[in-house]
């Protein structure tokens, strides 16, 4: 695949042209309102975009919205008419996706296409070109290295931008990305000198790889053997069960289906984000709850990511973005707990020493 470059001015012009052609542009930008946090949102041009800041919200809401109408109904006397919701998606481009967020799309593809092909998800995936931006190495909550990714990982991205003076070096990573670039080639230049881009990536890799790297395979084995363990209740003591971690997680994808009447004559079936951290997630109609406490609920989140999903789809349900740790108002920390499980696993697995998790 080729490497090209683009100047900021050209990128701005390209976005204007895309918008004029009816392409929706999703990029990191400040959210409206009081908080003004950076989120992935629809933008009107380059000046809105804040490149290189990991957004607080995830990209997933543009593929799996927090709430979405998937079916409607209308009643006429004894007749009930079902109204299909459109699964069409207009052409879009995501510009400035973080590598951990781009990779998450591919991770979640597995479950979305598993026993049923989710049209809403895949039509959006197919309509969207994902352009990621190389990460500068993240902060102390990041652990992409531990889950097989890196600040320069191109997984899930069609193209990746690496910041250089006055613009970006562009790495093409998929055939779709190649075709898209060729379609807009007048905005791109030859790659030129790659020194700056290489230096950026090296700095990022150094920063990222210095962080602890718990051994995910031995953690997976420990999880399999320690469903019943005092650790879970101890761990969950400070957890409020608020589920904010699951909401900002790029790979958490569980949802609830609800039917909402909208007046006497009709209504909508909607798909809404749900969270395993809520007691109602598993509450039975009988009143029984198989996950009665926060320990059991927190265990579920960890098991799903590092044991259940890998068993079924052969990969981790985590891209190490660290948002769960950053968002938690009570200071739960994913990298810390993975380290603790690593250490417990090392007692039964001599090959996994406690020191090993700190080795780059």
């Amino acid at each position: 695949m080729q490497t090209r470059s683009i100047k900021t001015k050209e990128l701005s012009a390209l976005l204007d042209q895309l918008r004029a052609a009816g392409v929706e542009i999703i990029a990191p930008a400040r959210a409206p309102g009081v908080g003004r946090a950076v989120v992935y949102r629809r933008v009107s041009g380059f000046s809105d975009i804040i490149m290189g800041v990991q957004p607080r919200g995830t990209l997933k809401e543009h593929f799996l919205p927090a709430s979405e109408r998937i079916l409607g109904w209308r009643r006429g006397g004894a007749h009930l008419e079902l109204l299909e919701a459109s699964t069409d998606c207009a052409p879009r481009i995501v510009l400035g996706a973080f590598p951990c967020d781009a990779a998450a799309l591919e991770v979640v593809d597995a479950v979305m296409g598993w026993d049923y092909r989710d049209e809403f998800w895949f039509n959006r995936r197919q309509a969207t070109i994902v352009v990621s931006i190389a990460c500068d190495g993240g902060d102390e909550s990041c652990f992409c290295h531990a889950v097989g990714l890196s600040p320069g990982s191109t997984r899930g991205a069609d193209l990746m931008f690496v910041p250089v003076d006055g613009g970006f070096q562009v790495e093409v990573t998929t055939g779709r990305g190649q075709a898209w670039l060729e379609e807009h080639q007048e905005y791109f230049s030859e790659a030129g000198d790659s020194t700056q881009a290489v230096a950026f990536q090296e700095r990022a890799t150094t920063r990222s790889s210095q962080r602890p790297r718990p051994h995910m395979e031995s953690i997976g084995r420990w999880l399999k053997n320690n469903f019943q363990h005092d650790y879970w209740d101890q761990l969950a003591l400070r957890c409020h069960g608020c589920g904010a971690c699951t909401m900002v997680c790029p790979t958490c994808h569980c949802f609830d289906l609800v039917d909402e009447p909208e007046g006497p004559e009709g209504g909508s079936r909607r798909r809404n984000w749900d969270t395993c951290q809520a007691a109602t997630f598993t509450l039975h109609a009988s009143g029984h709850n198989p996950r009665p406490g926060q320990g059991a609920r927190y265990r579920q989140r960890i098991l799903h990511k590092f044991s259940i999903y890998p068993a079924r789809f052969h990969e981790l349900l985590c891209t190490g973005c660290g948002r769960c740790s950053r968002v938690c108002s009570s200071g739960m920390d994913m990298l810390e707990l993975l380290g603790e499980i690593h250490d417990m696993a090392s007692i039964t697995e001599p090959t996994t020493s406690p020191e090993a998790r700190n080795e780059p």
Binding site: S141, G243, S329
Partner: protein, 290 residues
Amino acid sequence: MKELQDLARRLLLEGRVDIVIGYQQGPRGVRPSFVTRPEQADALIFDERCVHNLVTYLSPRRAHLAAWPRRAVVVKGCDTRAVAVLLRESHIDREDIVLIGLRCGGVHRSAEASGPLTAESVAFRCADCSIREPELVDHLLGDPRPAPPGNSRLAERIGQLESMSHEQRREFWNNEFSRCIRCHACRQVCPMCYCERCIADKTRPRWIESSAHLRGNTAWNMIRAMHLAGRCVGCGECGRACPVGIPLGLLNRKLAMVVDEHFDYRATDDPEVPGPLGSFRSDDAEEFIV
């Protein structure tokens, strides 16, 4: 710090409590700490980053803490107002809990903050601090502290809200609520949200739509605000927990001002003062009843 650690150790050694809930350094700033063994007491700290309201861990809704029925909790003066509500509403018994009060000169709005408190960094809840020295406690620790710096942002935002017309205010809150994703983190962290079955979780009938559309979001946020009117202690934990940054503290603060104006009630650390919803007064102005 040492007197706090010593006290926690003593309470556990003497078997007075099963657990001491305080603060410790975490990977990202300060976080709640759960000390069940005397030797863990050295982890306890208290400083300007201790923004969390730990009284929420006394709520009977927390089934996973039931294994430690006798709890000691580290509280700031403002936190004791939450204890007062739980006592007033008969949700905890005073003799079941040990309150370790810390003299406080204000906290940052973020547990990850560093440096001295400033008008910009100080938490909303410190804006009109009246209890720097908690009274409703069993132990009072720490040196007297100066008053926290005034919070310029809160006054400014309340002023902005009040200068708006009803339509502008609706538009302002619609804009904020439209970002709500209905995770209910605000409820989960709230020391006053102790209902075992929240109205938002009831499905027969479904009082509040669970969907994150403006209809459901407005219903949820307004009903929660109304359930907190005259009960909210203004700790701001809801706003701190909100993953999409809705200024819930601002909503509750404004509501507290309305309650004060109409019912002459302000959040207090005195559990004997009746709440506005739990008392009847023949001289209530009732001007909102048409």
